[in-house]
């Protein structure tokens, strides 16, 4: 697609493409709500410009599951009560997936540190950490021969 090179990525996604699953909450890189995956790594779409996506592979929450079934991280969040108002959740899910990609068996402390850039005001994080821990176990089981 064509876009002005200085268009903020979060606006490109939400307004130009109608992909409103990516949220904006602070517009300054403080909260993580606008997290997307760029070439598989979590990035803040409120701090990126369209030109920075040239030739990159972008994944938002809408395309995250790749099929009708939920991705294990999404399923774990839903099953373990990690979702309340849900406004942080698209960013949180993508950040958690990125964390598990880099560290498939994180400790609870590593999960807390890994998600410290994504603010949630509802949950107190307890069930988010539980959900990521459970997702890691499923992930681990699936990788066994």
């Amino acid at each position: 697609m064509d876009a002005p090179s200085d268009r903020r990525v979060v606006d490109l996604l939400r307004e130009d493409l109608g992909l409103t699953g990516t949220k904006e909450s602070c517009g300054a890189g403080d909260c993580g709500a606008c997290t997307i995956l760029v070439d598989g790594e979590s990035r803040l779409s409120c701090l990126m410009r369209a030109i920075q996506l040239q030739g990159r592979r972008v994944k938002t929450i809408e395309g995250f599951a790749e099929s009708d079934a939920l991705h294990p991280v999404q399923k774990s969040f839903a099953d373990h009560g990690a979702v309340q108002c849900g406004f942080c959740i698209p960013g949180m899910v993508l950040a958690a997936a990125d964390l598990l990609e880099r560290n498939p068996s994180p400790t609870r402390d590593e999960i807390r540190q890994g998600l410290a850039g994504n603010l949630c005001r509802c949950t107190g994080y307890r069930k988010i950490v539980d959900a990521v821990e459970q997702a890691a176990e499923i992930h681990d089981l699936e990788k066994r021969p």
Partner: protein, 771 residues
């Protein structure tokens, strides 16, 4: 392996069913108010005053209006209604017409094709403001020479004051053997919901104004917008999607009236307004700043004897819900204790600071911070066990609480304290403290909590539930109360599904909408599932009886007690014959398939002599939840940094309908309380905000919150739906005093200004005599 067919599981009370909204929220499909755009959508934005107190002069709109892409520039002269909004007092202008009363006041509204044009126009809007001296402290604002925030009020800067006495009041203090005294100041707290204030509006083809907004109060918003803009109530529809967090900050109008005005000048095009974080901090409401003077006296044996309290709340320039917050603060000022002689005085005062308003806990976190530290200070002075002192004075059912109200409903504080006392975290606290490393001090803090739910004795706390058997044979629940994240919509489905024996897959939900659902009050006051749930039980039982009766008629059974609802249908228990719900829907008439039920919550019978003001604002409540909390903290003596290592919340909120949602409420409230205690420092200087964003106003991250434990003491509350009581707010009040008591336990430092930042802790440590 055989693949068994997946069976639908009927919803039941007490099971941790995953929330109905989780699926759409984890996939990004859920559409929040902030996600509404639409064909030809315009942007609306506000010119904020930027000064705390000033007389409004000329507004020059031409330079802004001539920016390409600007559709309208609107001022107070374009508002055809009262131009006033507010929940109790209508004291807040939609657009400033005489004077500016705080930095976040809205002075003009711009509608533009896009955000670039909007930004340019707002920059070019020139507003003449003649500065006035301001008033920035609640106590000083009551002094005779203080500048007046509202010129036309006979009581000057006083919004509401209250006075209450029991026994011999403060005169009984002299009879105490031991007296402790302190002054506490709790700061403003910012809600910091992830979805800042947002909405969308359009004049529909039929001429009606449709507003979609992030709100806790769609029905009340409709009334406020109608009056302020001069529209008939029937000419407005308010739709409330799931808000992306609210916590009280969306209890009342934010963008609604401004959006309505913008839509009336957009040529029929939809208009969107979405405050950015800085505007949200500037114009949104905050937890009231409180200054509280406390004296507490006890007998030598530890029996509480006398309490003398003065409370000053800073409501900023507008009431919002300041009077109600004061009433709750006064009611809870003595905590969950029996105290025979009490003197309470409170003042809620106008200033030129940011607006004080509703925030989860609603005045109770402030006074609980005070009373629960007073109890610890008393224990220290009496040299008795802190938990034992609480158990000795804790209220039980049938007791009069500190304001003299007889507790007629379930009251399980004692059970909470007992569970806490037997919990391993408390039993091993001494050993854990002894294991602190070098330059670390560890401490444990306990608190006892109570929280009243509902609107109090005057304002009717009502809900109207509506349930439908759809043509397709599904059960549709029309929710009149907003679910801002607390999960009450899912709980409603669980309640109706349980009564009608249907699975989650059979249930449908209609979110609050003034055109589709019935008025059921605000999503606030720990009332949502209590009040709406009671109404819903009535509606679901009515529908159930109708379905069973019609089914009995069809199978020629003598009575409906031979029929039972089963997932997806009805079974005749004698013949075994089954009828699908879709078939039942065909047999039933349009009106028969919909059942409604009204519920009004019980109120206190006591008539306290507190004057009409406090009573109207909700004093006293009759139904209370209770809790006992424990915080284990570690203080770094070199840096002053305090870490909450473990946290336990034992709660009496009646029986638990959904353990998962119940825990979510406790965890979230505790986390907000930890932020309030340790880091959330909303600073202002002469009304100007010093912490305008999330880089300067810090809220807890995943790394700041420990693994909390929640234990539910499940005592049945006879007036509650399936025995439940409100769980939404109570846990917010625990962390500040629990952590402060733990810090004092760790290093002897008693800090009375919050949050307890490393700087304040270090200062307190240095002020300590060498031990």
């Amino acid at each position: 392996m055989l693949k068994s067919a997946r069976r639908e599981i009927p919803l039941q009370i007490g099971t941790p069913v995953p929330r109905a909204d989780a699926q759409d929220k984890v996939t990004g499909r859920e559409k929040y108010a902030a996600d509404f755009y639409g064909e030809g959508c315009l942007w609306a934005g506000v010119k904020r005053a930027g000064v705390p107190h000033a007389v409004l002069g000329e507004i020059r709109t031409e330079p802004a209006a001539s920016v390409p892409g600007v559709v309208a520039v609107l001022t107070y002269s374009d508002v055809r209604g009262t131009n006033r909004q507010g929940v109790v007092q209508k004291d807040q202008p939609v657009l400033v017409d005489t004077k500016v009363r705080h930095c976040g006041d809205a002075v003009a509204l711009v509608v533009a094709e896009n955000r670039d044009a909007l930004g340019k126009a707002l920059d070019l809007l020139s507003v003449a403001l003649d500065p006035l001296p301001g008033v920035f402290d609640a106590e000083k604002a009551l002094e005779g020479e203080a500048p007046l925030v509202h010129d036309d009020r006979s009581e000057g800067n006083l919004l509401l004051s209250g006075r209450h006495r029991t026994g011999n009041g403060a005169a009984a203090m002299d009879e105490s053997d031991v007296i402790v005294e302190a002054c506490f100041e709790t700061p403003r707290q910012e809600h910091a919901y992830l979805e800042t204030e947002a909405g969308w509006a359009q004049i529909q083809d039929d001429g009606r104004l449709h507003i979609v907004c992030s709100t806790q109060t769609p029905f009340r918003d409709r009334t406020e917008v109608a009056e302020a803009l001069g529209l008939p109530l029937s000419g407005i529809r308010v739709t409330a999607p799931y808000p992306g967090g609210a916590f009280g900050g969306k209890d009342g109008v934010t963008v609604q009236t401004l959006l309505g005005l913008a839509a009336m000048h957009s040529g029929g095009r939809p208009v969107k307004m979405w405050w950015d974080r800085e505007e949200s901090f500037l114009a949104g409401t905050k937890r009231h700043f409180a200054r509280m003077y406390y004296r507490l006296g006890a007998k030598r044996d530890g029996t509480l004897h006398c309490l003398d309290v003065r409370i000053y709340l800073d409501t900023g320039p507008y009431d919002h819900l300041g009077g109600v917050v004061l009433a709750l603060a006064m009611e809870h000022a003595g905590g969950a204790y029996r105290i025979p002689h009490v003197s309470l005085n409170g003042w809620c005062v106008y200033t030129n600071n940011p607006i004080g308003g509703a925030f989860r806990g609603f005045g109770v976190p402030q006074v609980t911070a005070a009373i629960e530290q007073m109890v610890d200070m008393l224990a220290e002075k009496l040299d008795v066990d802190r938990l034992g002192l609480r158990t000795r004075n804790a209220v039980q059912r049938g007791d009069r609480n500190a304001i003299g109200k007889t507790l007629v409903n379930s009251t399980a504080l004692m059970e909470c304290l007992n569970v806490l006392e037997g919990h391993p975290l408390w039993k091993h606290a001494k050993q854990w403290k002894a294991e602190a490393g070098s330059f670390k001090k560890r401490g444990a803090g306990v608190v006892a909590l109570m929280h009243g739910s509902g609107y109090g004795p005057v304002v009717p706390d009502v809900a109207n539930a509506k349930v439908e058997l759809t043509r397709e044979g599904k059960i549709r629940v029309f929710s009149g109360v907003v679910d801002m994240g607390q999960g009450n919509a899912s709980t409603s489905l669980q309640i109706a599904g349980s009564i009608l024996c249907q699975s989650a897959e059979q249930m449908e939900l209609v979110l609050p909408d003034t055109d589709r659902t019935l008025p059921s009050g605000s999503a606030s006051a720990s009332r949502c599932t209590y009040t709406f749930g009671n109404a819903l039980i009535g509606a679901a039982e009515t529908l159930k009886a109708r379905i069973l009766q019609r089914a009995a008629d069809l199978v020629m059974a003598p009575a409906r007690n031979e029929m039972a609802l089963i997932p997806g249908g009805v079974r005749h228990l004698v013949s075994g014959r089954e009828l699908p719900l879709a078939a039942m829907a065909d047999f039933m008439g349009e009106g028969e398939r919909v059942a409604v039920h009204h519920f009004r919550a019980p109120v206190a019978a006591e008539q306290f002599d507190v004057g009409p003001g406090l009573r109207l604002h909700g004093f006293p409540h009759t139904l209370f939840s209770y809790a006992a909390h424990l915080a284990l903290v570690e203080v770094d003596e070199l840096t002053g940094e305090t870490t909450v290592c473990r946290y336990l919340a034992v709660s009496d909120c009646g029986t638990v309908v959904n353990p998962q949602i119940y825990e979510q409420q406790i965890h979230g409230a505790v986390a907000q309380g930890i932020g309030f205690a340790l880091m959330e420092d909303f600073s202002t200087e002469e009304g100007r905000i010093g912490t305008p964003d999330l880089a300067t106003y810090l809220i807890p991250t995943a790394a700041d919150i420990p693994d909390m434990e929640s234990v539910a003491v499940q005592i049945f509350e006879p007036t509650g739906p399936f025995g439940l009581k409100g769980v939404g707010e109570i846990a917010t009040s625990g962390p500040l005093p629990a952590i402060a008591n733990a810090v004092a336990d760790a290093c002897g430092a008693r800090i009375c200004r919050y949050p307890m930042t490393p700087e304040r802790i270090l200062k307190a440590l240095r002020g300590q005599p060498k031990r």
